[in-house]
């Protein structure tokens, strides 16, 4: 431990702590601009200057490590003068005209710092040169006139997201934030996660939707979770007068530690803004959907369900809350014994996992956090650029921050190809063979030993695998060498492995993992897929018979093509939906329900963590929550939905620990 004095206060900190962090942890305020608690120290703005006894000049507290016996003073007339000077230089460098900026009045860290230093003016006027405004991106604008070159956006793009789109060109006062090799943002490799917008201290990175909707400082905020996919990232939502202003990543949530993707920040919000919503129950009369009362709609629904008891099919979106999923299965399976009760995803993300979990009698997967410490990441059959982007960000930032190796095995042209020297483009459906080949290759190379019986002739197995997968056997050996020589490998696998009722590929994968002493992780589709499969909502989907009644509980989710086709075969379709879609247009009864922002409830993420989603805004008066509609429907069918959703989650073994 290091002992130092800051403003006369005796402080003890761990070695390597910077003076700024030491002060912050002890409640001593030092103004900063380029510093961000979740980024590495940079020392760019010089606002955090402090006096260190014995030092020749003022020192930037964000980059000097605390040392034994150090005596630091954070406010003296000399420091205040230096800070005012630093701020004057920043204000004069570009065009900082507060009255026309959307963050002026509390959201701008530059302005707040100036007020804090009691600046009433700056002596040097700008030179009235204009800087570019890049509005090529649909969701945010880069207004270089307001940029203070703190490089937080650049560091965020690199350190948090690992995307390295943003960078700096030129030097000194001519420095400019650019995307890629100076192309417009909209045409760059930007993945639109918006982390740079969230971390920008001024109005330079401007969110097109929330700009001028109101100051964040004056809005109310609540911490919730994103239910866009099975990661369950923490988000912080700012809202005012029943309107969502913007969504930021929640740095306090241990799952994503602040990083979210475009889906969580923008896509769902824009969809909410733009989609046509149902505001009242609708019943098809004379071939047309006509508004009806809740009582009429529920009465009609229950009559239809009763009359087609034997031919009833029910499907629910696995993007809904545990409460809704459990209510759904209790009503349709336990009470009505419907022929088909399943989720829109069916067995894709669960069968193999469940089987293995039952065999082992417990969980075998690890947490997402192990990616950050891995020195080799192996992805098999999962495109983390298209889905579960935040996991992709974690992998990419690990590659650039810790120089980890990445091995991609995919039958698709994986978008990770460019990040990985070890990319195996295998033939579709040969995941099992390639894993077997890797096991044998590890034995052949003498890197690991295998205690399975079928590894007697590793050479032949590698050859066979190479032939089956359509790749040269040398590349299998290369990849085996890469993973066999790493100390902390993590294997991320996807639908190609889990979508197999006999779990053959997964069994081999477990064997490989055991040899490597690695960690296994799989992402699981939609936000509540794991809960859906724990409740048994993962039957194979087939309905097409005439005379059937289909109940589809969708809320703001959409049916995939396969389901839409299946749904066409049904005689009567009852839909619980938020938005008007192609599918709802052909429905016979539509019951309007809340979307992700309007209904609260529990979700189980792919690591098995049970999280609470907050209700953010009120729905229309005549729109009810899915859970409420299900319980009202149950009442009409003489049933009361039990409340054991939490117990039911852990009734069967799962591949992760649910808690």
């Amino acid at each position: 431990m290091i002992h130092l004095t800051i403003d006369g206060k005796q402080i003890e900190v761990a070695e390597g702590t910077t003076v700024l962090r030491a002060a912050q942890h002890n409640g001593i305020h030092i103004p900063t601009l380029c510093d961000h608690p979740h980024l590495a120290p940079y020392g760019g703005c010089r606002l955090c200057l402090v006096e260190v006894k014995g030092a020749r000049t003022l020192m930037p507290s964000c980059t000097i490590p605390a040392s034994e016996g150090m005596e630091v003073t954070t406010t003296t007339p000399k420091i205040t003068e230096a800070r005012k000077f630093v701020l004057s230089m920043i204000f004069s460098e570009r065009n900082h005209f507060c009255p026309y900026c959307q963050v002026s009045g509390g959201d701008c860290e530059l302005q707040n710092s100036a007020y804090e230093q009691e600046m009433t003016h700056w002596m040097i006027q700008p030179n009235w040169s204009t800087f570019r405004v890049d509005a090529s991106h649909p969701w945010f604008t880069h207004e270089a006139n307001r940029c203070i070159l703190c490089r937080r956006c650049v560091r965020t793009c690199n350190e948090m997201v690992g995307n390295n789109t943003l960078g700096i060109e030129m030097r000194g006062a001519s420095s400019m934030i650019i995307a890629d090799l100076n192309v417009p943002l909209g045409e760059s490799t930007c993945v639109s996660c918006g982390m740079c917008v969230q971390n920008c201290p001024t109005g330079a990175m401007m969110d097109n939707r929330s700009a001028y909707l109101g100051l964040t400082k004056e809005a109310e905020s609540v911490k919730s979770i994103c239910t866009g996919c099975s990661i369950g990232c923490g988000i912080e939502v700012f809202y005012r007068d029943n309107n969502i202003i913007k969504i930021d990543g929640d740095y306090d949530n241990p799952i994503n530690t602040g990083v979210i993707c475009k889906f969580g920040r923008w896509t769902k919000l824009y969809e909410f803004d733009e989609a046509e919503k149902f505001t009242t129950p609708m019943i098809r009369t004379n071939g047309k959907l006509e508004p009806a009362s809740w009582e009429e709609a529920l009465q009609k629904t229950s009559e239809l369900i009763k009359s087609t008891q034997d031919d009833l099919a029910a499907v629910i979106s696995s993007e809904l809350t545990c409460q809704s999923l459990y209510g759904f299965i209790s009503l349709f399976k336990d009470h009505l014994s419907a022929k088909i009760v399943t989720s829109v995803e069916g067995p894709r993300h669960s069968t193999a996992l469940k089987r293995i979990a039952e065999e082992i009698g417990g969980s075998f997967e690890d947490s997402l956090a192990s990616i950050d410490t891995a020195d080799c990441i192996i992805t098999i059959g999962e495109d983390l650029i298209k889905h579960h982007e935040v996991v992709g960000f974690m992998i990419k930032r690990n590659l650039s921050n810790n120089e980890a190796k990445l091995v991609c095995i995919d039958s698709d042209n994986s978008s990770y190809e460019k990040y990985s020297k070890n990319f195996l483009n295998i033939s579709p459906g040969t995941e099992k063979e390639i894993i077997k080949g890797l096991v044998a290759a590890l034995v052949k190379l003498g890197l690991k030993t295998c205690d399975c019986d079928d590894c007697t002739d590793p050479d032949a197995i590698v050859q066979a695998a190479a032939k089956a997968c359509g790749i040269p056997s040398d590349s299998i050996l290369d990849v085996a060498y890469a993973i066999g020589t790493s100390a902390k490998p993590v294997i991320l696998f996807g639908g190609a492995i889990t979508d197999d009722p006999k779990a053959k590929a997964l069994t081999t994968l477990l064997c490989l993992n055991k040899m490597l002493n690695g960690k296994l992780i799989t992402v699981k589709g939609k936000a509540n897929s794991l809960a859906a499969s724990q409740y048994g909502l993962d039957n194979i989907q087939k309905i097409a018979k005439k005379g059937e009644t289909l109940v589809a509980v969708l809320a703001d989710d959409k049916l995939n093509d396969k389901w839409s086709k299946l749904a066409k075969g049904a005689n009567n379709t009852i839909v619980l939906a938020t938005y008007q879609t192609e599918f709802t247009r052909s429905a016979d009864i539509v019951l309007p329900v809340c979307n992700w922002a309007q209904e609260q409830g529990h979700f189980v993420n792919f690591e098995g963590k049970i999280q609470w989603r907050e209700k953010l805004v009120d729905a229309d008066l005549n729109v009810k929550t899915t859970a409420e509609v299900l319980s009202l429907l149950a009442k009409h069918l003489d049933f009361t939905i039990p409340t054991y959703w939490r117990e039911a989650l852990t009734a069967t073994p799962a591949s992760v620990k649910i808690q």
Binding site: C98, P99, S104, G105, Y115, E118, T120, H121, M123, Q125
Partner: protein, 180 residues
């Protein structure tokens, strides 16, 4: 001791700062007790007293030669010069003009704009002041007190003037200090 004299004038501003001055409401009476309000845009006198005033106030930045004359006269005749509002302190909204060529701007405003008549004509009467680049007051004369804000709040104005009238140098902090 006699009450200190206060005089104000405006240049390239929107008069909003002076409106905010009037927002002091009943405190105007308090201010009148503290200071002798002389030539201002809302009193009858046209120019600050030739024998000088204690406090001279300028709203707005400088965008033509007349403004330079106004500001210089105010500077000569006042002991303390207050730059009143964002335009006087920084150049403010009129300073956006500096990003464009002056002739182009005039052409756009008087000829190209939809609302102008077809024979759009840029005023060229010799009586019209010659336009210049927009400047903050402090770029032309020495300023003693900066009172930023768009407009400064009535509280900030009252505080600043009453402090000066009591012969103290105002120090804007907290809620009184804002230029947004």
């Amino acid at each position: 001791m006699a009450k200190p004299k206060v005089s104000s004038d405006w240049c390239a501003g929107c008069s909003g700062c002076h409106m905010s001055f009037l927002d002091m409401d009943e405190r105007l009476l308090e201010l009148v007790n503290l200071a002798d309000i002389r030539a201002t845009p809302f009193t009858d006198l046209k120019h600050p007293d030739e024998d000088g005033v204690q406090i001279g106030i300028i709203e707005g930045g400088i965008n033509n030669l007349t403004h330079i004359e106004v500001v210089k006269r105010m500077r000569e005749r006042s002991k303390y010069l207050v730059a009143f509002g964002d335009c006087a302190v920084f150049g403010g909204v009129p300073a956006m003009r500096n990003f464009f060529d002056l002739q182009e701007t005039l052409h756009y405003v008087y000829v190209d704009t939809i609302s102008t008549d077809e024979s759009g004509k840029i005023p060229n009467d010799p009586e019209v002041a010659v336009m210049t680049r927009v400047q903050a007051i402090s770029e032309v004369v020495k300023v003693d007190v900066f009172l930023p804000g768009c407009p400064p709040s009535a509280d900030a104005i009252f505080y600043t003037l009453s402090e000066l009238a009591k012969r103290r140098m105002p120090k804007l902090t907290g809620d009184l200090l804002n230029w947004h």
